[in-house]
Amino acid sequence: MAATVSETGNMVPVWAAYKSDDSVFDEMLDLSLNPRSGCEPVTDALFSMPSAYFAEVCARADAMFRRMGVTFNVYGAADGSERIFPFDPIPRVIDADTWATLEAGLIQRVRALNAFVADVYGEGCILSDGVIPRDLVLGCPQFRRAAVSIKPPLGNFVTVAGIDLVRGADGRFFVLEDNLRTPSGVSYVIENRVVMTRLVPALMRSCRVRSVERYPADLLQCLMEMSPTGRSKPTIALLTPGPYNSAFFEHVFLSQQMGIELVEGQDLVCVDRKLYMKDVHGLRQIDVLYRRIDDDFLDPLVFRPDSLLGVAGLTAVLRSGNAAIANGIGTGVADDKAVYAYTPAMIRYYLAEQPILPIVETYLLRDPEVREHVLRHLDRYVVKPTGASGGYGVVIGPQADENELAATRKRILRDPSAFIAQPVIALSVHPTLIHTGSGSGMQLMPGISTFAPSCSWACVRACWPAV
């Protein structure tokens, strides 16, 4: 029988101060502060820890991350400074049954999204059949004309996906958004696990946590299977924007773990529709490029002409089938916020299955009736620009003041297609040590790599309190 907070509260003053709130879902403790299913080993361990130990655990974790160099760069910081990744030592538990459902739902979703990208840049059946409005897709800012009729090996466009999940007030998981361009974060999951295992080995063992260690090997397998040249040992390279990119740590980590070359645009050159890297002893051909830079910077001949991050001629190489790229060009068309509204329809259309994971109810403001309704009750909705990702430009109605709402209204009326509205979701909370005593809104960000037959894999991408 697990101890409850009320029984042991006097032992651990930090926990005694823990408040429950019935308007949100607490992932670890129910309303009477009993641990939820699967969380007992964690709560037991926490309750038996002297409270002074909490600070020590945080400090040790901090020191470990700094020593390991697990950092991310902050854009715009004058000194180009590196921050260590914010880490909270209280683990977030997803029990095996819940995970099995999530995993099936994520795999289903990414299969459908990949089929959609292949269709949009191929025959366009879903558009001809009127399941998704053609103008919504072709007018999407992430639609890339240059990707039309590029046929990647195995039909693999979305090699790596990052699907963001949230839990509502009833504890149910929803898909919040899809990240299909160059999703990042998996290295932090793997390094977090290393740190957790060193910090609290006994707890980790008693939880019987599923390993996340295989990710680099699985991803490498996916990339190797994509090689179009049929060479027995394909040359694979990871294309990074360089050390000043916020995710550079991850680029280094993955290339090292996979044993592939980490290249920058300046290391590459295209000759006779083949892709090469500049070796000390001459040019070496690349078969598969795992790119971690956006479409816009990939090829100055096709996209932004001022880009120094990519390599001129890459699109022609891909079109000739002399190299493959992951993720494919133009996958962003499937993570557009307006296209998101049609993802359940996509799953039914391509897979003839019912969606396992629900999405958040989404209103397209290009529809005049919907628009009128939302504009009248703007203070009740979350408004998001369709093209952006990662929370950019999001306005949360109940938290916005009159001026913000008026400005948002104006922006919507100027270009209604560029916005969607969603009801406000009370995000689930979880106890943390960093903000002691109060919960923080949570997002689960699993990553998934697809399509190699041996390789339907998913894991928790990161657990940290959403700010």
Binding site: R67, G69, P243, E264, Q266, D279, V280
Partner: protein, 313 residues
């Protein structure tokens, strides 16, 4: 190996070596002063001359007092060759090498870098010049030891070795030049006690004092100092030793090319130059000229290595 990576390896190693020699020079100059008569306060100015950094220094500091010069050589990031700048450059190159070097090497280098950001002129008061440089020298030894103990003997090791040995050959020549050409303006002092004290200091700054005593006994003779620092094939900080290591590494690099490449002409010239002289001849025919030839040869060889292996456009 990518040309860019080879270049990062080369510059990481070379800047660490440069920082180490600067630290050695500052250290030895400082200790020289403790036992020198007051009129010999110009070793500091001599350093500026030998590194051709007088102009840059004058732009940054009003007077050439000891504190200013130490600050300029050790801490000043306006000086691209200060110890701190070299450590910064080494570390900034190493950022792109995280997947090529061992994590131990990165951690130690990064720790040195983080420490260097904390340095203020107060470190020369407390823990004091001696402790500061002793500690710093140990940091460099540790990094060198980790490199030896953890980096596979492949291209990564060899491109670092090329950077180190090129810098070392050049710096040891430059250090001899500091003493020979600048430190002793008064002719009557040559061969006197101050002269000997200074030669011993030069040996110590190259960590060569014990090696010298072992080979020649502890009577300091200019000819023998030049012999051990330039021509000794076994002393690891001699110019000859450095050039031979350089030769070996460049050979190994070339041997991995898919097609044989012509030898580097500047390397052949340099080795020929070293073989053509002994220390007595080098001194008699003008040591300064000889030292300048070594330094110029190293610069030209560096350029040749750059053109063949490192340049990427």
């Amino acid at each position: 190996m990518l040309r860019r990576i080879a270049s990062h390896l080369f510059w990481t190693a070379r800047n660490l070596e440069r920082a180490e020699w600067r630290a050695r020079l500052l250290d030895v100059n400082y200790h020289l002063l403790i036992e020198s008569p007051p009129r010999d306060a110009q070793p500091w100015a001599a350093l500026l001359a030998i590194f051709e950094e007088r102009e840059l220094f004058a732009q940054c500091y009003p007077t050439d007092d000891e504190a200013s010069i130490i600050n300029f050589f050790a801490l000043d990031t306006d000086n691209p060759n200060s110890i701190r700048s070299c450590i910064n450059t080494a570390r900034n190159n190493a950022i792109s090498l995280r997947h090529y070097i061992s994590s131990e090497l990165w951690l130690d280098l990064n720790t040195l870098y983080l420490n260097a950001q904390e340095w203020t002129p107060e470190v020369f008061v407390s823990p004091g010049v001696f402790a500061f440089f002793a500690d710093l020298k140990n940091s460099f030894y540790r990094i060198s030891g980790i490199r030896h103990g953890t980096i596979p003997r492949d291209l990564a090791y060899d491109f670092m070795e090329v950077g180190i040995m090129l810098e070392r050959a050049e710096d040891v020549a430059r250090m001899l030049d500091v003493k020979y050409h600048f430190l002793l303006p008064l002719l009557e002092d040559v061969g006197g006690p101050i002269d000997m004290l200074q030669w011993a200091a030069v040996l110590r700054s190259a960590s060569g004092f014990e090696a010298y005593c072992k080979r020649f006994g502890n009577a300091i003779k200019v000819e023998n100092v030049v012999e051990i620092l330039l021509f000794d094939p076994t002393f690891p900080r001699s110019a000859r030793f450095s050039l031979e290591m350089l030769d070996t590494s460049l050979d190994r690099i070339a041997s991995q090319a898919p097609e044989p490449s012509p030898p580097l002409s500047q390397l052949e010239d340099l080795t020929a130059l070293m073989r053509s002289r002994r220390s007595r001849e080098a001194i008699n025919s003008g040591l300064h000229q000889f030292l300048v030839q070594i330094q110029d040869g190293c610069a030209a060889l560096g350029d040749e290595v750059f053109q063949r292996y490192l340049k990427s456009d």
